[in-house]
């Protein structure tokens, strides 16, 4: 879980955020705050699918699963089981 959290945080802050100085936390709202948009969300999904060998369904690409690094890590972990 910790690895997923750390890797996802690094990916988001280095690859998706315009403002890399943004103080990104594990609980920071990503989609609902507008921090990442739909293109970046799809990029993130692509990264997670490849990195953790999982597959997203279209309806899973939403705030319930991707709105914070914590939610992402929990969802990825549930998919990996």
């Amino acid at each position: 879980m910790e690895t997923i959290l750390a890797e996802t945080k690094t990916y988001i802050s280095t690859q998706l955020l315009d403002d890399t100085s943004f103080p990104l936390e594990y609980q920071t709202a990503l989609i609902s705050s507008g921090l990442i948009d739909s293109i970046s969300t799809l990029k993130l999904v692509d990264y997670l699918e490849k990195k953790y060998h999982i597959e997203f369904m279209p309806h899973e690409v939403d705030k319930d699963h991707l709105d914070s690094i914590e939610l992402i890590a929990a969802f990825v972990q549930s998919k990996m089981k």
């Binding site: 280095t14 690859q15 998706l16 315009d18 403002d19 890399t20 100085s21 943004f22 103080p23 609902s32 507008g34 948009d37 739909s38 293109i39 970046s40 799809l42 990029k43 692509d46 997203f56 369904m57 279209p58 309806h59 690409v61 939403d62 705030k63 319930d64």
Partner: protein
């Protein structure tokens, strides 16, 4: 100030006080009056007053409040019809059962409602508000709801589901259809200060945006006909784009009201005029819509296509989503206005916008792929780049928007052609506007980019301090209202802003009965659309849209034979000959004195039911109450109403030519009002603009001699024509007088003052002089309205055609005048 800090009672009181003041402003300034905002607003205020004492039942009380407003707006049987439809639709959508059966039932219900909406049967006309309301509540939310319920694993209460569909603001804002179901349910919270503050701020922001919109609409937006040079083009396209503030302001009020009801749904617009790219604009504009499209269509499409590569998937998914947006936009208009307008300019607008967003998305995708992982400092050059991007987007969208709102593509091309007319002044003006925009947008981007660093303090406290400027503005508005009532100079200037009125261009169109263009996509952004819900307020426009057919001759337009429409409770029918009257045989029956009426919208009875227009009233009263004799023989009087909305004097000449002898008329009543010169210019402009054949030799000579062109603006036509409109009006009267003498038909002029401007002695003097010159009698209906106020005589506050009271007064006066001057008609009229 944050949620955890204690809030003083005084501070809370301030917000309640501002909400109360806002309600007062909505009332005084008639904000969204046509859409019944005040009744919805007061209901929500009542709800938040009782909510703290009954939070346990607050959610359950909301539908009752919704039904109370519904009953207020649609009393009696209307209410019963609506709640029956509501119960059926909620009964289909909310329970959990087989997905396919649910969709099938919903489609059947949709089909029945659309059948009621479009089927040309007057029985259905009486319940057309049912599909309209159901469309507003269910057209998109049912899709979002069913989609979410298919996949959600959470338990959602039935009352949340019902509240999702029965949103109170929808009763005043039919275009507020999409809210994400999941966001809506998750956003509910018990009453708290943050909710109160957020709701109040949204309402204040919405009110101010609506008033700014009014200012732009009345003082900056000019009619397309007034565009002459590059500065005019720039002002026209940008100001027309800026009036989307109306939608933004109205939607912000809706969000504020929904927030105060407990559901703190997200923001809907995010500074759209400052978007720095096209995909950025798409993200900022109607965010609910973007999320709806993304969730329901974009993601499934993308996942299906991503095996072909990201770029292909993005391109195809985005373009398909824009095609869907175009279709759903028309689908929305179908439920709101009852028609599905497929127009080339819509395809161009959505097509170009789709291509721009696709290119922008691909560029963004590429940027993400090549992104370097190092910290980026916000540099000045970056801010300048963003500001220039915003300028590019703003200008492009303004131009694209102008395609959308133009009457047609030809008019739009002509509009842009005026940009080639440049002068130092016009270039200087455009340059100043660009610099001003760049300064504002630079400051905005600077704040946005530095709000976590340099402007952190402001960003953190922005929400809590922004109420004070709003309070200042509200007080200023109340003072403005006082000034206006006292008719102080600045108050008079504010008059158009503090009342719900049409601007000059739209008012001119209404007065002339000229709204022959079909549904305009921009209608909602202007005052014109305000009253489409209560079509009786803009009956002339509605009637024109539905019964008028364009022609390519001197007449310009005619009524569609046998057409019958209902505008709320008003029935308006056209007979088989294309007149707003009962059927008449062309051959005059024996012992009949036949009069034909040549006139415009006043005479064609837009404001009243069939048989309630003053022409029919006079005809019926004369035959019923009087013994009428001609040469000692009793006769029946037939008055055939040949008046057509918007007909000018020259059109009436051709109406006479076509029908007077054909219908064996004994007399022709020619109705005369005021402001005919301006109307004659409009008429000539429309003839030229529509490429109609100008068969009239006099007008043809004027067009040739004065070098009038299709591309001339109204202002140019006016200056080129000089005294020509005067002479054209005189020529029309002369032609009618000459023809009627040759045909042995008695021509009688009738001067009927306008409801809007009942005292216009110069027009009366002019017509008296002309009638003397061309030797036809003139009946003077001066003072017909007595001391009645124009609001009591007009269809509505924005359509000054006479209502039933007006028609009754005109009928009475006309009847008295005919009896008094019966010798003119060579008739003997005595009371039975």
């Amino acid at each position: 100030m944050n949620n955890n800090q204690p809030i003083s009672r005084l501070h809370q009181f301030l917000y309640y006080f501002i909400l109360f003041l806002s309600g007062f402003i909505i009332y005084q300034f008639q904000i969204e009056k046509s859409f019944n905002l005040l009744s919805v607003y007061t209901t929500v205020l009542l709800f938040i007053c009782i909510r703290p004492f009954s939070e346990k039942y607050a959610k359950s009380l909301l539908p009752l409040f919704f039904l109370a407003v519904l009953f207020y707006l649609y009393p009696g049987m209307k209410f019963l019809y609506i709640i029956s439809a509501l119960a059926i639709l909620l009964g289909i959508i909310i329970p959990t059962y087989n997905f396919r059966i649910k969709i099938s039932l919903l489609l059947v219900a949709g089909f029945i409602l659309s059948f009621i909406y479009v089927f040309p049967n007057t029985a259905f006309e009486q319940i057309r508000y049912v599909p309209f309301l159901m469309g507003s509540l269910f057209m998109f939310r049912s899709i979002s709801f069913i989609h979410e319920m298919r996949f959600t694993k959470k338990e959602i209460s039935t009352i949340d589901k019902i509240n999702y569909f029965l949103l109170l603001p929808n009763l005043s804002m039919p275009l507020f259809p999409i809210v994400d179901f999941k966001d809506f349910v998750a956003s509910y919270a018990a009453p708290n200060f943050r909710q109160l503050r957020r709701g109040t701020l949204f309402i204040c922001r919405g009110i101010i945006q609506l008033l700014v919109y009014r200012f732009i609409y009345h003082y900056i937006v000019s009619p397309i006909s007034g565009v002459e040079n590059i500065a005019d083009v720039a002002l026209y396209v940008t100001s027309n784009f800026l009036i989307v503030l109306r939608v933004i302001g109205a939607f912000h009020i809706c969000i504020g009201l929904i927030t105060l009801c407990g559901y703190s749904i997200p923001d809907l617009f995010n500074n759209i005029f400052f978007a720095h790219g096209f995909s950025d604009l798409w993200r900022r504009t109607n965010i609910y819509w973007k999320e709806f499209i993304t969730k329901i269509f974009y993601f499934p499409l993308y996942f299906n296509l991503k095996k072909r590569g990201e770029y292909v998937a993005i391109t195809i998914s985005t373009l398909i989503c824009f095609a869907i947006t175009w279709f759903l936009h028309n689908y929305q208009w179908f439920w709101i206005k009852g028609s599905f307008p497929v127009q080339i300019k819509d395809l161009i607008f959505w097509g170009i916008f789709g291509i721009l967003v696709t290119m922008s998305s691909l560029w963004q995708q590429r940027k993400l792929v090549h992104k370097e992982s190092h910290k980026q400092e916000v540099k000045n050059s970056q801010l300048i780049q963003l500001s220039l991007g915003s300028l590019l987007v703003f200008v492009s969208m303004s131009i694209l928007w102008s395609i959308w709102i133009a009457p047609d593509l030809h008019a739009w091309i002509q509009l842009l052609a005026h940009a080639k007319n440049i002068s130092v002044r016009s270039i200087g003006l455009v340059g100043c506007w660009i610099v001003a925009y760049l300064i504002v947008v630079y400051m905005y981007h600077s704040y946005q980019k530095n709000k976590n660093t340099r402007y952190k303090y402001i960003a953190t406290h922005l929400e809590s301090i922004s109420i004070y400027p709003y309070l200042a503005v509200i007080i200023a508005l109340l003072l403005a209202q006082v000034f206006s009532q006292k008719k102080i100079q600045y108050g008079l200037l504010l008059k158009p802003i503090i009342t719900e009125k049409l601007n000059k261009a739209d008012q001119e169109n209404v007065d002339n009965g000229y709204y022959t263009n079909l549904i305009s996509t921009n209608d909602y952004c202007t005052q014109v659309w305000s009253s489409d819900l209560n079509k009786d307020k803009k009956r002339t426009k509605y009637i024109n849209q539905n019964i008028t057919l364009m022609t390519n001759d001197m007449m310009l337009c005619k009524y569609i034979p046998n057409k019958k429409i209902a505008v709320d409770n008003i029935i308006y029918s056209i007979n088989s000959a294309g007149f707003h009257d009962i059927e008449y045989a062309q051959n005059k029956p024996l012992n009949t004195y036949r009069i034909i009426v040549l006139g415009g919208s006043y005479e064609s009875g837009n404001g009243v039911n069939d048989n309630e227009d003053f022409i029919t009233l006079v005809e019926n009263n004369l035959n019923k109450n009087y013994r009428i004799e001609k040469n000692g023989q009793p006769v029946k009087v037939e008055i055939i109403n040949m008046a057509i909305n918007g007909y000018m004097l020259l059109q009436r000449v051709y109406q006479y030519k076509k029908y007077a002898t054909l219908y064996e008329a004994d007399a022709a009543l020619l109705f005369l009002h005021s402001n005919y010169n301006q109307r004659m210019i409009n008429y000539v402009a429309r003839l030229l603009y529509n490429n109609n054949s100008v068969e009239d030799p006099y007008l043809s000579a004027i067009i040739k001699n004065k070098q009038l062109k299709k591309s001339d603006t109204e202002a140019t036509l006016k200056s080129k024509m000089g005294f020509a409109p005067d002479s054209l009006n005189a020529y029309s009267l002369r032609s009618l007088a000459t023809m009627s003498k040759q045909d042995s038909i008695l021509l009688v002029g009738v001067f009927l003052p306008a409801v809007k401007d009942p005292i216009n002695s110069s027009d009366l003097q002019n017509f008296m002089q002309l009638s003397k010159q061309y030797q036809f009698p003139l009946l003077n209906l001066e003072n017909v309205y007595g001391d009645k106020k124009k609001k009591d005589l007009s269809i509505s506050e924005i359509d000054f055609h006479p209502n039933k009271v007006g028609n009754d007064l005109i009928a009475k006066k006309l009847e008295e005048t005919i009896i008094l001057q019966q010798d003119i008609f060579n008739l003997s009229i005595t009371k039975k």
